[in-house]
Symmetry: C2
Subunit: 331 residues, 2 copies
């Protein structure tokens, strides 16, 4: 067996391109004392990876040119020199964009594929789900009867936000790109409404879907969608800011014009990332796992097959071509 | 004796002009049962009044065209048919831009000109001081050793923010327009530094004055100054948003481009107005009164003389021509 790795070849200028990556073949690593080796079954592709590709100040260190792309995978231990991990154990690890990786156990989580499907530990019962849980509960703090709006509503984070809001007795309104995603968000996920921002009537859609205004806007995108929602915020409303996918390639696209809304409505905006709240991961994962196990929390996956297709799938994710959690199937 | 009143004649289109006001002479009101009549000594001019002149959704009702301009004054009771207020009492009342006004006691505060000067109850020991106190303590929450930046630093609110920050053991950095204001902020008020935004080197000034970044930015102005400060925010920083004076006439001037900073730094922005926190006025005023009484909290006043000069003074305030709390002396 050979390992395959996707390296960061060059930093993007604007949109990410295939040429920013290089795929190489290498040896399967051997476990050193205290380590174990994981064969990855599923690789997670997430918008945050775009930020790592740049060499600018952010909440996490930049990826290093020439290194394996950072990322999280779920897989199975195939060799171990660590007492806590046995061959055959299923784990979530940060081994990056490669087929095999060695780990000393740092940041590793054991997972049980008999409780929820293995890939769910990268989505609704993983980092995206926890991100939704923390942003909504810690920063959004919706009360029953309030209106919660979420952008990228069919995505890995947004889909959990709206379903959790519904479970809390809120009105959940999604924003997504295209009719198919919006239909899914309403018909399958149970949101009260979903507005297709590509249809060109976002403002009118918000007026219709949020007749009592917006109490919580969980924002994954920033830019002109945020600007539109700002016109609809209620007094003392909250905006957990989770992502700015609209501006990764062009920071000017993130300019916010309706800034007066923050003062007029005494709105709170709070940028956050899930790793700021490590104390909340355990209760969040417990609740999310139970909800998926019981069939009360649904999710959808976009699956690329084969590591060699990871760059194209990632580029598609950044353009909104995915429909649900973007994964790469490796086995 | 005759009353004089300044009415809202027309709503401004862009910058406020003299023609938006009409000054009339009228009768001094008589107290009805339960009312008293106040002769105003000092009228307060405040940026929030600009918002009231527009007919758009805001946190307070718009002023009505043809009515007396809204506003707060301090003065003395000259006639009373209310048991709680005696002739000779000094009070702060919301009687607006006029020499004499009747009140039923709603929203009235008795004040003591022997404790601090009467005009201070419109500034450091009044609404602007409470605004500073609430924004800093409730939303800014600075810890000793942190860096607090405040815009409009020589103004009624900003001057209190920086001095309270110093009393808490913080580094206090002001932003103001012009050398004279900056010198005053540092030399008289005791800020650690003050940057003249009109000198054209705001960004470099912030780098020099805030070598450890900015933990709290108390913003009174919005727009391009906010955009510059956003580049300097620390992780988990807080931005109490108190005013947007840079954008009253032109909302486009409020566009914020460096929005990514909110996510990267997990910064919290919170619009607020002092009347959202009525429970905090009593402790705030007690502390502010004691500090002024003991000479530990300094302030400066810009005084226009005569109600007929209130419109010009207000127009100057909106352009930053005032230096400290803008008042109109009426007696």
């Amino acid at each position: 067996m050979k390992n395959m790795q996707v390296l960061l070849a060059t930093r993007p200028h604007g949109a990410v391109e295939q040429s920013n990556f290089r795929i190489i073949e290498s040896e399967v690593p051997a476990a050193r004392e205290g380590e174990f080796v994981v064969r990855a079954h599923w690789l997670s592709l997430d918008p945050y990876m775009r930020g790592r590709m740049d060499d600018v100040k952010s909440y996490a260190k930049s990826a290093v040119v020439g290194d394996v792309m950072v990322g999280t995978a779920v897989g199975q231990v195939i060799e171990s020199r660590n007492d806590k991990y046995k061959v055959g154990d299923f784990v979530e690890t940060r081994t990056g964009w490669q087929l095999f990786g060695a780990s000393d156990g740092g940041g590793v989580r054991k997972v049980d594929p008999d409780y929820v499907p293995l890939s769910a530990y990268l989505g609704a019962v993983g980092m995206p789900g926890v991100t939704a849980w923390i942003g909504l509960n810690e920063h959004g703090r919706p009360k029953a009867g309030e209106t919660v709006v979420v952008s990228a509503a069919s995505g890995a984070v947004g889909s959990v936000v709206g379903q959790l809001a519904k479970l809390k007795g809120c009105t959940a309104v999604g924003i997504a790109g295209g009719r198919a995603k919006c239909d899914y968000v309403v018909n399958e996920l149970g949101f009260d409404a979903c507005i297709d921002y590509k249809a060109g009537a976002l403002d009118a859609g918000l007026t219709a879907a949020c007749p009592r205004g917006v109490d919580v806007y969980f924002d994954n995108v920033g830019g002109r969608i945020l600007d539109s929602v700002l016109k609809h915020m209620n007094a003392f409303s909250r905006i957990p800011l989770c992502g700015l996918i609209s501006g990764y390639d062009d920071p000017d696209a993130l300019a916010v014009r309706n800034f007066r809304s923050f003062l007029v409505n005494r709105t709170q905006l709070r940028g956050f990332i899930c790793s700021d709240h490590l104390d909340l991961w355990k209760p969040a994962l417990k609740e999310l796992g139970a909800l998926v196990h019981e069939g009360k929390l649904k999710y959808r996956e976009s699956i690329a097959v084969g590591l060699e297709n990871a760059p194209a799938a990632f580029i598609g994710l950044l353009k909104g071509h995915n429909f649900g959690k973007q994964l790469v199937k490796l086995i």
